[in-house]
Amino acid sequence: MPRPRAARSGGPEHARTAIGRPAPRRPGPGPGRPTFGRRGFLTGSALAMAAALAGCGDRRSPVGPAPSGALSVGAIPDQDPEVLARLYGTVADAMSAALDLEVVYRPVTDYAAAVSLFRTGDLDLVWFGGLTGVQARLQTPGAVPVAQRDVDAAFHSVFVVDAATGLAPADDLRALAPLRFTYGSETSTSGRLMPAWFLRRAGVDPQGFPGGPGFSGSHDATLALVGSGSYQAGVLNEQVWAARTADGSVAPSVVEYARTPAYHDYHWLLGPAAVDRLGADLPDRVRSWLLGLPPGDEVLELFGAGSFLPTDASAYDQIEAIGRELGLIT
């Protein structure tokens, strides 16, 4: 049966080839066949492409690395990364003025990508978590921890539960074992590594919750998921918990169940390539700037710190051992 309009449809007989709407076959050349002056067009576009690529010359890519004379700074996407990313001028300008260097801030959306970019030398100075800092140091020989916040030497994670579980705050983590449970990001120190370690020490299989543990991706997502009741329990960074309780954005059904013992967490890590490029005194200059920030400084506010303190690699030995034991460092 002739179906004049259906001929255009690219119906099933063509669907194998193109999911869009392919042209019907047209025998031989005829009106409407798009023919380009092939040689002219191809040569012209090749030349123009070459010109454009050559013309890039000294143009700096909006997504590319910082120029070699500059220090590129980044941070793992942990607490309010969008605030940090969009106020990056604050950090970069302050650092630039103090160190007399060009400073470029590069927001990162993925923990593993931050580690990789530190290894490739695209990020020189990165605000890492405990575990990501160790991963980055193991992959980048010569990297040095520069400073940590006052709160980082004794950091905690908070286990939260849905009030509907009826659990009262206690120290016994075994009560969490039969609950649907979510961590934060997979390589988050406070949202995954240390809580998993303390769960294991309490005799709870950290991978064993009903249906397996979830990975919400962030501390805020953990709060929202426990708040919705989909997950009955979760664990997050104590700072985010304090900030969100203070501003009242936590659902009333989410209650604190337990707090982990203290451990070392976030720190600034400086890569070896930056030291080669910008001078052997760079670690000292960065450290003395961070340590000398006056109380209430904007940069301290952005990082939720009272002050920055010195730190060194041995502070993270425990994290490394635990990371190896839990299979997060290989």
Binding site: P34, A48, V108, A113, E186, T187, S216
Partner: protein, 527 residues
Amino acid sequence: MLRPARDRARLLCGLGAGALLLWSLAGSGVLGGPVLNPAGVGQLTRFAAGALHPDLSGELLGVLARATLVTVAYAVLGAGLAVALGALGAVAAARTTWGRRRAGWVAVRGALAVPRGLHEAVWGLLLVGVLGLDPWVGVLAIGVPYGAVTARVFADLLDEAPHGGYEALRAAGAGAGVAVLYGLVPEASGGMLSYAFYRLECAVRSAVVLGLIGAGGLGQELALSFTSLRWEQVWSAVYALAALCLLADVAGRAVRRRVAAPPPRATGRRDPVLTGAVLATAALALWSAWFLALRPATLVDGRTLDQLGTLLRAAWPPAGDGPLLSEIAVRAVETVQMSVLAIAVAVAGSLVLAGVAARAPRGTGAVRWAAGAAVRAGLLLLRAVPAPVWALVFVFVLLPGPLPGALALGVHTLGVLGRLSAEAVEELDPRPVAALTALGAAPLGRWLYGVLPGVARPATAFALYRWEVALRDTVLVGLLGAGGLGVLLSARLAAFDWPAVATVLAATVLLTLAVDLVGARVRAVLR
């Protein structure tokens, strides 16, 4: 006659699909025990409220405007690279080139399955490890897998084009390559152009997924706000993205329509609209290369080769221990089940919505027009919100497990499939519906007897094609209890366990290839 055998094959396919669906439903836990979590409505409301109150502060809009440029540049260059790679690969992958030497053809097709089997985001993560912060990451992550798909589609177009000119050139003593270039390419050029513009539309969505892993652009801004669940900001990014998708859809569709139904005019004259579209796209590609400051030298400089070597040495030999392999087997089953459910949701949804979503013929009422526009806008938002965001939102109101993950993929796929099905409806012969209307049939009757029979076949064919895409997309949604190979991949990537990553990637490629072969077989039966 072959008819009865064909019908039997179709029946078998139908039964197989039903069994697969039941098996997947059983795996998702829907058939036993509760899956709903009514208490999560509050969180869902917060998400939905963001849609009504997007953040329109000047500062965020400025950030989004710059990010939009990056996304456009990635999409245009990624699609451009894909078309270039596809054109080169097509000759090698066409059956015509190989003739009776089937082994060579199979080898090329198998080789093409490797880049195609990995999700763009996975390509992106691997490329970040090699190239670091470089615009090539985004361009290659789209261009390489898309290039392999394009090569296959172009090869099919070449094989299906009329072979008269090709045979004549061969008979006159021309080499195979020359004969394909001058005998077949002109015949297939319309279909190729259509497909190139379709790829450009898809590349916009892929460019956003790349942002989620940190390659820049709208996806990166969306991911940053999503980490803190700033829904108003997430929605601003989604609207920007929807506008971009709409623009690409409208432009691509205009080009494809023009190719399919050219206006009559003098022989030998070029269609000014098509020429303009191609030139405008080429100009956009040039601007993109300038804007991203793309340097070809980066691809082969010392650092890149160094990092590539480090990565390959770390990944070789791939892990082959028993526990890993058995976990891969379990996760592969989850992946297949999740993708089957996702496609079932998308097909069911698009069959129901296609009739309404199709642009109504002139002279229909305002209500019908408004309903159509609303459904089309809804489908646009379904595909503009990235699958990981849907996954979190579904876990608010459903208990964790494979179901929310499958639904997240399902609604995202519905956004794509619904639009394609609606276009198929617009192309249907309008007479059955007109006849039913004239006979006084109710709307449901018109849909059931006028629309559904015509659209079921194209929708199924599109769905089989999207099945492979959904299978790869499971990588994005597994982390909240949904499972699948993506969970394993993400865990091993997080631990930088490269040998295990290599094994999981190989398993993913094999699984994609298997699904592709099944899909091709079923499509052949349906034709």
